[in-house]
């Protein structure tokens, strides 16, 4: 049976789960309305109180939208951050916090971390299973965009072919990230530091000229300017790693290597990353697998997701209960109509079915509108978060949100029985008298 389930296409599995979650609702509806047609009268009640109905639908829609948008966002953030870290198979940094080193190297978050020296770099770069060992250098920016020193092979690894132009060939040339507002051929003077603390003019007289632009990577590197690591070292008055002037790129002379906060390592095969991490972890350096660190962080986020799911369901249940209380009050206004139905010979089950159908009409409409609003809100929030984090966050609604809504509908189907049943208990025939 388990094998049969596993062999089913994912879409079929999701559809079957959805159907399973909706079964309680369908069963209640079937049992309650069997042999009758309560919708005509439920439609009449909807028309009788359009304002109240709209408020109920809006309340449910907002509650579903908030829940689904938050959950979709959390998933989008998780996928986006993982995709942004994809090209970073292995990072080697000085011993310390692996999260800080990963945030600095992958997400370009400025932080003060120890540097690896030339000997350490040489040990990494000369390893037979290492294809690329890219030192990085931070410290400068241009109009809020970080200027990151690295080497040409890593730029190619990160972006593949450039979107336009060519790779840098001298220490005074630069490659713009996909979303940096600077054109090819334009020159700029880097400021020392980042953000509000950046010092314009600290590197007066030194300019980089943009020679190419990267294709989008969906990572903060899209808003960075990549320059030869030698350029960053030179502008800060450090040795540039080479004995011959004007040379860029590896190999570097260990004695002339000023130090790097991290070396971005591309192994010859993805599987080599694991033994390399072990090899590059000792008292002088620390190998970091960004994927492993992210999984740890996502594990934590998983708990947050569970908490968010519970909170979303609880808030939806609270709203549903509030709406049910409102509906119960509404049934008092419907006393005369219910009395009429009973007087005309309608069974009590039919009166319950009318109230339940009316309630579920509002709830299902609210849930569907809520899903649509949640989808729109998730898209907008995704764009806002992408702008804030520079991580491409695409947060479409997933089956998880649809399943959660189905759970909500089935629960609401049960809860809606209560005001419907209570509403028909107090039918008084005297209500029919003028």
């Amino acid at each position: 049976m388990r094998d049969l389930w596993r062999d089913l296409p994912v879409l079929t599995q999701d559809l079957l789960i959805l159907a399973g979650l909706l079964i309680p609702l369908i069963l209640i509806g079937f049992i309650l309305t069997r042999g009758t047609r309560p919708w005509t009268i439920a439609r009449g009640i909807l028309r009788a109180y359009p304002g109240v109905s709209a408020v109920f639908v809006a309340l449910i829609a907002v509650s579903i939208a908030v829940g689904t948008a938050i959950l979709a966002q959390e998933r989008g953030l998780r996928i986006g951050s993982a995709q942004a870290a994809d090209p970073f198979t292995l990072i080697v940094a000085a011993p310390g916090s692996d999260i800080t080193a990963m945030l600095a190297a992958v997400y370009l978050q400025p932080s003060a971390i120890e540097l690896l020296d030339g000997a350490a770099y040489d040990r990494i770069a000369s390893h037979e299973r290492v294809t690329i060992a890219a030192p990085i250098a931070f410290g400068d920016s241009w109009e809020g965009h970080p200027v990151v020193g690295t080497i040409a092979p890593f730029v190619n690894h990160l972006t593949g072919d450039l979107a336009e132009g060519r790779i840098f060939q001298t220490s005074e040339e630069a490659i713009a990230g996909a979303f940096v507002p600077i054109g090819i051929g334009e020159a700029f003077e880097p400021a020392h530091g980042h953000g509000a603390e950046a010092e314009d003019g600290a590197h007066a007289g030194f300019e980089y000229t943009v020679t190419g632009r990267m294709a989008p990577t969906g990572s903060p590197w899209d808003k960075a300017i990549l320059v030869p690591v030698e350029g960053v070292w030179q502008v800060h008055g450090l040795a540039d790693g080479h004995a011959e002037p004007g040379r860029i790129g590896p190999p570097f002379v260990p004695e002339l290597f000023p130090g790097t906060p991290a070396v971005l390592v591309v192994p010859d095969t993805p599987f080599a990353a694991y033994p390399l991490r072990s090899e590059f972890t000792d008292s002088t350096m620390m190998g970091i697998l960004p994927g492993a660190v992210l999984s740890r962080l996502h594990g934590l986020l998983g708990d947050v997701r569970q908490a968010l799911s519970i909170m979303a369901t609880a808030s939806q249940a609270l709203v549903a209960t509030g709406v049910m209380a409102g509906l119960f009050i509404l049934t008092r206004l419907l006393g005369r109509r219910l009395a009429l139905l009973r007087a005309l010979g309608a069974p009590r089950r039919f009166a319950v079915a009318v109230l339940w159908t009316h309630a579920m009409g509002l709830i299902v409409a609210g849930a569907l509108i809520g899903l649509a609003l949640g989808w729109i809100a998730a898209r907008i929030l995704g764009q806002v978060l992408t702008g804030m984090t520079d991580i491409a966050i695409d947060a479409p609604l997933g089956w998880g949100e649809v399943h959660l809504t189905a759970v909500f509908l089935s629960l609401a189907g049960f809860i809606a029985l209560l005001p419907a049943w209570l509403g028909t208990r107090r039918i008084r025939i005297t209500d029919l008298r003028a």
């Binding site: 047609r37 005509t40 009268i41 109509r337 007087a343 005309l344 010979g345 039919f350 003028a434």
Partner: protein
């Protein structure tokens, strides 16, 4: 032919135990028309509600062979649905629905195999009463039209008994007289038993048999 009514020792008490209706014996033949009059609070509507099985009562109240007083709540509802047609002082319509949806209301909860017939009957009754069976909300019709929709609703199930509570009370004289004519003609043509509570002299004059209720008891009976 409509059902005969037989009452033996019928008593209806209020929530406070007070006797609202006390009728030791009464009967009417199937297809007969009866008007009930009396001062306010005399128990006229209570009598009608008891006839419809809508208030708890003791004694025997037989429609044909069926003692409505002895039936369960669900069985009484079935009897009302299948046998009795009710018209109230207020039309009590679903104001937002059209005339046909109102007149064919019982199709929503009646047996599946009678639905199409019921809607056809409702449509034909509305036509006979001069009401267009369109989607215009019942609430937008005049008082007379709304009461005629209510009568169509009562007759759409083709009941053997028609019970009417002050059917002309909220209508002007001309409209009221037209409605009285509709009620009595419909009842006599189809041989239905008709019981109507009214203060309306025109209705009382049209009824072949009239009883007067005072203090929950039959004080006077007259035949035309």
């Amino acid at each position: 032919m409509g059902l005969a009514l037989t009452i033996e020792g019928l008593t209806v008490r209020g929530d406070d135990g007070r006797t609202l209706l006390d009728i030791p014996s009464f009967s009417m033949a199937g297809g007969e028309a009866l008007a009930i009059r009396g001062p306010s609070g005399a128990g006229k509507t209570t009598f009608l509600m008891a006839l419809a099985g809508l208030v708890p009562c003791s004694g025997r109240l037989l429609w044909g062979d069926t003692d409505i007083a002895a039936l369960s709540d669900a069985a009484r509802a079935r009897l009302r649905r299948d046998t009795l047609g009710l018209v109230f002082q207020d039309p009590n319509l679903f104001e937002e629905l059209g005339p046909l949806d109102n007149a064919a209301l019982a199709a929503s909860f009646g047996p599946r195999n009678t639905r199409a017939t019921l809607r056809t009957r409702a449509e034909s009754l509305l036509d006979r009463f001069g009401i267009k069976a369109d989607n215009r909300a019942a609430g937008s019709h005049s008082g007379g039209e709304r009461q005629r929709i209510a009568v169509a609703r009562a007759l759409a199930t083709n009941p053997l008994v028609l019970l009417a509570d002050e059917p002309t009370a909220s209508l002007d004289r001309a409209t009221g007289e037209a409605l009285i004519e509709d009620l009595f003609t419909e009842a006599s043509t189809a041989g239905r038993t008709l019981v109507a509570v009214s203060h309306d002299e025109a209705l009382l004059a049209r009824a072949p048999r009239v009883i007067t209720l005072i203090g929950g008891r039959i004080a006077e009976a007259a035949r035309a």
